[in-house]
């Protein structure tokens, strides 16, 4: 019982941290995008205002049970991956379940939520939602290949599938994996562009085209939960990258600096890019990113 309370407490603390950092990043994204496009842009805390507004709004309609449950599904992915990904080196301050799952579990739990949400989106009957979902799934089949190649390369090089072990390797050797396995890092970062769904890979939400895709029929509480899940998940993914490739972090400030540095990559790449078509996006991931993934596997297998 005590153990369960301990982990629940850890989950709540990490959730709050991830939520605030994630929402701030989203706000900064809007601000930076605006400055690049020579606009003034909203304040960096605009997304906090949005979230509070959404949560206090009254929802008046729903399209059925599945749509009602959709946001809860997406939240499962965010929270459980946050629980499995170690936040700081040595499991400090944020007790979590990382010793009970590994990278392959993480890969699969990451698709649990999107699939559940896709079902919710499907029940609304809005054609844009379904189109967005098919695009999202197609793109996922694209970027998972370089991403898994990078992970497999790390797994075979260090003979472990556990995230904590990979972090320990970096702490012991004092060398970040992004330098000792550069190809894996390249492939993983290129896959990350697809994961964050910023341009040119924003085919799922596709502003001006699909009317925000799978989200289109959700408002109020539903959108509130989805937005928070998105922010938490963004932070969880960035933390995973930091853990695996950048030696983890000893305290929160270092973590925030490192994650923000990583977050700039998809953000800045996105601001300056137009949008791909679905098949172009899928093929892009099977091109250079997968080639680097292959190099990473070769490097791990041969050296």
């Amino acid at each position: 019982m005590k153990e369960i309370l301990y982990y629940t407490w850890g989950a709540i603390v990490s959730f709050v941290v991830a939520f605030s950092v994630g929402i701030t990043y989203m706000g900064l994204n809007r601000k930076i995008t605006a400055r690049v496009q020579n606009r003034y842009g909203p304040p960096w805390y605009q997304n906090f205002i949005d979230v509070i507004k959404l949560s206090s709004k009254k929802t008046s309609i729903h399209h059925g049970v599945m749509q009602h449950m959709g946001p809860a599904f997406i939240m499962v992915t965010s929270v459980v991956s946050l629980l499995v990904i170690p936040i700081l080196n040595g499991n400090k301050f944020f007790p979590n379940l990382n010793f009970q799952g590994d990278l392959i579990f993480l890969l699969y739990i990451m698709v649990f939520g999107p699939l559940g949400m896709a079902l919710g989106a499907g029940q609304t009957g809005n054609p844009n939602s379904a189109i967005g979902v098919t695009r999202g799934l197609s793109q996922m089949a694209g970027f998972e290949i370089p991403w898994v190649m990078a992970l497999v390369a790390l797994m075979i090089q260090y003979k472990t599938t556990s995230i904590v072990d990979l972090m320990n390797v970096q702490v012991e050797s004092g060398r970040w994996l992004m330098f000792s396995s550069p190809f894996a890092f390249l492939a993983a970062v290129m896959a990350m562009l697809g994961m964050f769904r910023y341009a040119p890979f924003d085919i799922v939400g596709a502003p001006q085209e699909l009317a925000s895709g799978p989200m289109s029929e959700n408002g109020g509480k539903y959108l509130f939960v989805m937005m928070s899940a998105g922010s938490v998940f963004a932070f969880a993914k960035l933390t995973l990258y930091v853990d695996i490739f950048m030696g983890g972090a000893d305290n929160l400030i270092i973590l925030v600096v490192k994650t923000f540095a990583l977050y700039l990559i998809p953000m800045l790449y996105g601001i300056t890019s137009p949008r791909y078509r679905t098949e172009q996006s899928v093929r892009w991931f099977w091109g250079w990113p997968s080639f680097f993934g292959l190099l990473a596997i070769l490097q791990a297998a041969l050296f």
């Binding site: 369960i4 599904f73 379940l97 392959i104 098919t134 029929e217 509480k221 596997i297 297998a301």
Partner: protein, 616 residues
């Protein structure tokens, strides 16, 4: 009398009685059909123990039937799925024609599968194997749909496999003078090298046909989708596993003793991976749920074949675990398609949409089965997938694991298509009157879907008999090293403890569901799927905006270069080539008496001309 005799006489007697009872009364026939399967299942699990065997001989050939722990794993699939499918078919087949014929063949195919598992000699193995082929063939052509394409293809490939197996059996007998499988296994290390190479190839051809391994898979999509769904759940879930059953024996007892077994294993493992990839891609391209599931069965068997071929203890565990899981989820899904077919009369995604509120129980069981198929935790499919990846990574198959991962990620696409196509999307007037399927059809689906959840959290329940079976095959026990009741471990000592993770998943889900429901569901009202804001326009009553035509067109455009080459077209090319060849031969055998007279004349002239040089 020995219990094994009683079991077989019970099953055969039941089959014949069911067939005869069809003439008397429909109710009696249904009861006899279900009772036969139930009684033999109960008999099998209570009275027949691991290690039991009977010896007898027919015209001097010593034969032996018995059951070992390895066969028992597959008997779980055959009888478990058989019981579920028998209840289901009683309701599904109601009102159809020639039910005596259908039930008789259904029972015969169950008997033959049990016979295969219980044969300890090659002759009964072969006979039961042929019985299985024929009884399933009769059900494939039962509907009378595409008899030419699906029926002929199926029987042709099965015959190819059977001849290969017969040849291998004759080779074994010529060399050992014995037909016992045990003797063959013991003598195999001392066979000449040519035998050592050819025997596994011949046996794998036979088993590969049933397991629908590339390039022997072309019969499967048509045969699976054309037989009645009540039987397809058994066909794809249990009957195809007989191929896996044989393959594992071949790999454990023969391939291990090959002088250089690496190339052999790699070839089969890659064939399995290619099967998985191509099966998945073709499943994505289908617009008919039966075809989609049929291709998906081909793909899922591909994973299992890869696991078997890699052959490390963890890979073997994963292959056997996936076999059990595949039987459960694919059985459920085929049953769900059958339920929808029965209630709406169609299985096409672009004809029927929005059934979720009409058939909620079918939806829930399909949802669980799809989650398991996709390999998403916390359901059973994840356990099998996890073990497969870990075993491939641990045994240095780096590119193979990427291939398998690609197949499994792309599987999400057709998984979503299945659920969306039938249950989600806009609700239509046309399907307003659809009711949930009868309880007899829904219950088996729900039971199997629940089992998937249970096995996903406590895989030890299934892994325990699998472990016993693997010990029969000569593996050392894997309990504790690779798995515990609800934990999984790989060779590097990494672990996944399922229980805490499942509690985390369930807890988070419930918390946010309650959060949404307390404030949300009460104050919101339900609106129909026509009440949407699609770019500010509200669709009219008769406008159907469901997106189902060309669902994954962009994705298919991206992968089209791979899909352009179809195995079927090569076979067709081969067939056309043969036809042209025989057409050419027909010019010689023209059927015209005068032509033949000329042939005779020419022959005689030649004889006379060369008389001296020929006969000296």
């Amino acid at each position: 009398m020995n219990m094994i005799y009683i079991l077989f006489s019970l099953m055969f007697g039941g089959a014949i009685l069911t067939f005869l009872a069809h003439k008397v009364s429909g109710l009696l026939r249904d009861i006899l059909f279900v009772l036969t399967i139930l009684a033999s299942t109960v008999l099998f699990y209570t009275k027949i123990h691991t290690g039991d065997a009977v010896d007898f001989s027919i015209s001097g050939l010593p034969l032996q039937w018995g059951i070992n722990a390895y066969g028992r794993i597959f008997s779980l699939i055959v009888l478990g799925l058989g019981v579920m499918a028998s209840f289901y078919s009683v309701s599904y087949m109601k009102g159809k024609e020639r039910l005596g014929y259908f039930y008789f063949n259904f029972l015969i195919s169950l008997i033959s599968m049990m016979g295969i598992l219980m044969s300890h000699d090659l002759v009964s193995f072969f006979i039961f194997w042929e019985m299985m082929t024929w009884s399933s063939y009769f059900i494939v052509i039962y509907n009378g749909k595409h008899v030419q394409r699906s029926g002929i293809n199926y029987i042709l490939f099965s015959a190819l496999g059977a001849y290969a197996m017969l040849m291998a059996i004759v080779m074994v007998y010529a060399h050992t003078q014995s037909l016992m499988i045990q003797d063959m296994m013991q003598a195999f290390p001392f066979f000449p090298v040519a035998y050592k190479v050819w025997l596994p190839i011949l046996f794998l051809t036979a088993f590969g046909v049933k397991a629908a391994m590339m390039p022997l898979h072309v019969w499967a999509p048509d045969a699976y989708s054309d037989s009645p769904m009540a039987y397809t759940s058994v066909f794809s879930g249990a009957l195809s596993k007989m191929g896996i059953y044989g393959m594992i024996i071949v790999f454990v007892t023969m391939v291990n003793y090959l002088p250089d077994d690496t190339w052999f294993r790699e070839t089969i493992a890659w064939l399995g991976a290619i099967t998985a990839i191509m099966g998945t891609l073709w499943a994505i391209a289908q617009d008919d749920a039966r075809k989609l599931l049929a291709w998906s069965s081909v793909a899922q068997l591909g994973y299992i074949i890869t696991g078997v071929a890699v052959g490390t203890p963890l890979a073997m565990l994963s292959a056997l675990f996936l076999s059990v899981m595949h039987a459960l989820f694919k059985g459920t899904l085929f049953m769900a398609v059958g339920a929808i077919e029965k209630q709406t009369g169609t299985t096409k995604f672009n004809e029927v949409t929005g059934l979720i509120r009409k058939m909620p129980w079918t939806f829930i069981s399909s949802l669980l089965a799809i989650i398991a198929l996709a390999g998403i935790p916390p359901l059973g499919g994840f356990v099998g997938k996890w073990m497969l990846y870990e075993s491939l990574i641990n045994s240095n198959h780096y590119i193979l694991v990427i291939a398998i991962f690609f197949a499994s990620t792309s599987a999400f696409l057709y998984c979503y298509k299945f659920l969306f196509g039938f249950f989600l999307g806009q609700e239509e007037k046309e399907w307003e009157q659809v009711k949930e399927a009868p309880a007899l059809m829904v219950l088996p689906m729900l039971i199997m879907a629940t089992l998937l959840l249970v096995f996903g959290v406590f895989p030890g329940i299934v892994l325990n008999p699998i472990d016993l079976g693997m010990q029969t095959l000569g593996f050392s026990t894997t309990a504790g090293t690779f798995w515990s009741m609800s934990g999984l471990f790989n060779e590097w000592g990494n672990q996944v403890m399922l229980q805490p993770l499942v509690y985390a998943i369930g807890g988070t889900f419930l918390f946010f569901l309650i959060l949404l429901t307390v404030k949300g569901f009460k104050e919101t009202r339900y609106v129909t799927t026509k009440d949407i804001s699609s770019s500010g326009e509200v669709p009219l009553e008769h406008e159907n905006l469901t997106f189902s035509e060309g669902f994954y067109q962009p994705f298919l455009r991206a992968v089209w270069p791979v899909m352009k080459r179809r195995m079927m077209s090569y076979y067709q090319g081969f067939g056309q080539g043969m036809e042209a060849f025989f057409d050419y031969l027909r010019r010689v055998y023209s059927g015209n008496g005068q032509t033949y007279a000329i042939y005779v004349l020419v022959f005689v002239v030649i004889l006379l001309l060369f008389k001296n040089s020929l006969f000296g």
